[in-house]
């Protein structure tokens, strides 16, 4: 195993120069706290039956916020069901994320101008969309980059291969971020693929691969910043493997006790990405409990408001079922809507 790129060690000490000043580190720490607050809240809401199945990202906040923070606001983001932290940080509102989790497609429509696609539920198919988006930007003479997030399991899908190959062949400005969180539901990373690292797969496409400590906010930011800069200059794509861990279950429907030990989980809890930054800030006199409390309270307030708004929305009606399929409702769907109304005694 190569040594992962690391800037902040597990005790919060800098082992290399920080790419960010302390104000920015504080901002990102605040974002990680907000993201974790969201994550815990969703798990709680799901237990109360107020959300459908939820996939926790606890433990992966640094990998998501660190890389997302390296983007320009107009860069495209194409992420998956476990990447709410990155999506939110890049402008996708909590409300939309929550709506999706209540089972309401309206969550998939972020505010105009937010360059973040709805989360991909299928594993693997979405990376090529980031390749196409980056390609489009180049063809249009824009220097926008597209970042895509996926897991260790997703690298086994043929679509990962085709996306990586297209990106390298056309040198599209795409940043591939693999959050290797150790597991794909019940399959451990070492049985997902026989390669020592996922980063080394980049070489198969003639693209640089970077192996990063995914629980190190600063290292994740540095890796993504370099990849984005390279892409923006026409240097083509990069694959980043952020080594992290899924501390929670795969989803609220999963029972990790069936396939992994608590010791393994505890080990990773000790490497918590938030705690690492907190220690760093505290040592620098940039953190105190009051601020922590303030961050958590602000995040909770924002989320309470978003939850309330989501739950007040009228449930989608037949109009929403048929109306989203095409720009204009075609005859056969108008007819089917009529049939539904007739069956319901409304037509």
């Amino acid at each position: 195993m190569p040594e992962p790129l690391r800037i902040l060690d597990p005790d919060g000490r800098l082992v290399a120069a920080s790419p960010l000043d302390s104000a920015e580190i504080r901002r990102l720490y605040g974002a990680m706290v907000a993201a974790r607050t969201y994550d815990r809240k969703c798990t709680a809401l799901q237990r109360q039956g107020r959300l459908a199945t939820y996939a926790s990202f606890e433990g992966q906040e640094a990998a998501q916020i660190g890389t997302a923070a390296a983007l320009r606001p107009d860069d495209w983001m194409v992420a998956s069901y476990r990447d709410a932290a990155a999506m939110w940080f890049h402008g996708y509102p909590w409300l939309n994320l929550l709506l999706g989790r209540t089972g309401d497609e309206r969550g998939g429509s972020p505010p105009e101008g937010v360059p973040v696609l709805p989360p991909s539920i299928t594993v693997g198919a979405h990376m090529i969309h980031a390749v196409g988006l980056a390609w489009a930007a180049t063809l249009q003479g824009e220097d926008r980059v597209a970042i895509t997030y996926f897991g260790d399991g997703a690298t086994s899908e043929g679509d990962f291969h085709e996306a990586m190959n297209f990106a390298a062949v056309y040198a599209t400005p795409t940043v591939f971020v693999c959050q290797n969180n150790g597991w794909a539901i019940s399959l451990p990373r070492e049985r997902q693929t026989a390669s020592a690292t996922i980063a080394q797969k980049a070489d198969a496409y003639g693209m640089p691969g970077v192996y990063v400590d995914g629980n190190d906010l600063l290292a994740c930011h540095a890796a993504a910043a370099d990849a984005a800069a390279l892409a923006r200059q026409g240097g083509g794509p990069t694959l980043i493997e952020a080594v992290t861990y899924r501390v929670g279950p795969h989803t609220t429907a999963d029972d990790p006790g069936r396939y992994r030990t608590d010791d393994e989980v505890e080990e990773w809890r000790d490497r918590d990405p938030l705690e690492r930054v907190r220690r760093h800030l505290e040592a620098a006199g940039e953190w105190d409990p009051a601020w922590q409390q303030q961050l958590e309270e602000e995040a909770s307030a924002d989320l309470e408001a978003a939850v309330a708004e989501a739950e007040e929305l009228e449930p989608p009606g037949p109009g929403d079922v048929f109306g989203g399929m095409f720009a204009d409702l075609p005859g056969h769907l108008a007819e089917q809507r009529r049939l539904l109304a007739r069956d319901r005694g409304e037509g």
């Binding site: 459908a52 199945t53 089972g103 594993v123 693997g124 399959l187 999963d254 396939y259 037949p318 069956d343």
Partner: protein
């Protein structure tokens, strides 16, 4: 005898097959250590070993393609695709190779394999987790397509599918996994592929359904019967090869056909049954054929799913129209 639900009956069938035939093996995502997201393979890896109950990487084309190679090589693989919405990456292997190797080699190489796939909605799942695109597989030459609706058939049909010398796509209705229990013989038994079940007889209207929709069809049939309407209720159980004779016989008797299908409407399997009636029982039809189907839309998520999935009320409404025509 044991009282089992569909998931348990399927588990029993797989256990039986693994015990009876050393060539039988299971492969798929999370089928081993966790026993599958619906627990259909629960405990089977512990009992039959990691070599025969195999957790695979996340790669559906690889799962189906490897199963084909295993089958040509003499094994009897039973592959699982975690949800029908994730079967599409493996569709090329099914249509281009699994369904063709026997024909391509004039029986020299064959594909005695089963692909188990949980399908259908009704549990408020995430996008891609509620698909009912069985019609695509029925339109794919060389595949048999089986859809059980109840525990007894689930075990018997799965054992028949595993024994079958040709590839079988075996669709398991998600919302029926734990809905009902039936007494299931402990020993091995098969329910023949290609035979529909007439669950209820009556002379007035024919209701044909399969899989998850059977629950709603049964409810509608019961309500109709309660109002004195004689219903022929047919559970197709196998879509390919279709038991056309049983369906036609009933139509000739009732002259009224209601077909229930959760899948999308256009060119769905209900269209095939309507075509069957229009071709081979036209003169018996006393009323327009009624298709009660899902729509040509994405299956809605939790909050709007009920607008999509055919329910007993819609089936009743269709039957009433047929009766009043």
């Amino acid at each position: 005898m044991a009282e089992l639900n569909v998931a348990q009956a399927l588990n029993a069938a797989l256990d039986t097959a693994l015990a009876a035939d050393p060539q039988v093996m299971l492969l798929g995502e999370d089928v081993g250590r966790t026993g599958g997201v619906f627990r259909v393979t629960d405990g089977l890896q512990r009992k039959h070993g990691e070599a025969r109950v195999v957790d695979t990487p996340v790669a559906e084309s690889g799962i189906v393609g490897a199963a084909l190679g295993l089958a040509i090589g003499g094994m009897r693989p039973v592959a699982e695709i975690q949800f029908l919405g994730f079967a599409y990456p493996g569709y090329d292997q099914l249509v281009s190779h699994v369904g063709r190797i026997r024909h391509r080699s004039r029986h020299r190489f064959t594909a005695p394999l089963v692909v188990r796939i949980p399908y259908g909605g009704g549990i408020g799942a995430a996008e891609h987790h509620s698909e009912s695109t069985e019609a695509v597989f029925t339109h794919t030459p060389g595949l048999k397509v089986v859809v059980p609706s109840r525990p007894y058939d689930a075990k018997g049909l799965l054992l028949a599918a595993i024994e079958d010398p040709d590839p079988v796509v075996f669709l398991e209705p998600i919302r029926s996994y734990r809905a009902v229990r039936e007494d299931i013989p402990d020993e091995a038994y098969t329910v023949a592929l290609g035979e529909a079940a007439v669950e209820q007889e009556g002379g007035d209207v024919t209701i044909v359904a399969y899989g998850a929709a059977m629950r709603d069809a049964r409810a509608a049939a019961a309500d109709l019967a309660a109002t004195g309407v004689g219903v022929d209720l047919i559970d197709l159980r196998t879509l390919v090869p279709l038991d056309a004779a049983t369906v036609l016989e009933s139509i000739e008797k009732t002259g009224r056909l209601v077909v229930v299908q959760e899948g999308h409407r256009t060119a769905g399997f209900a269209a095939e049954l309507a075509a069957l009636a229009a071709e081979r029982a036209l003169y018996s039809l006393a009323a327009p054929v009624e298709r009660v189907t899902g729509w040509d839309t994405v299956v809605p998520l939790r909050r709007a799913e009920h607008h999509y999935i055919p329910d007993a009320a819609r089936i009743m409404a269709a039957a009433r129209r047929a009766l009043d025509a």
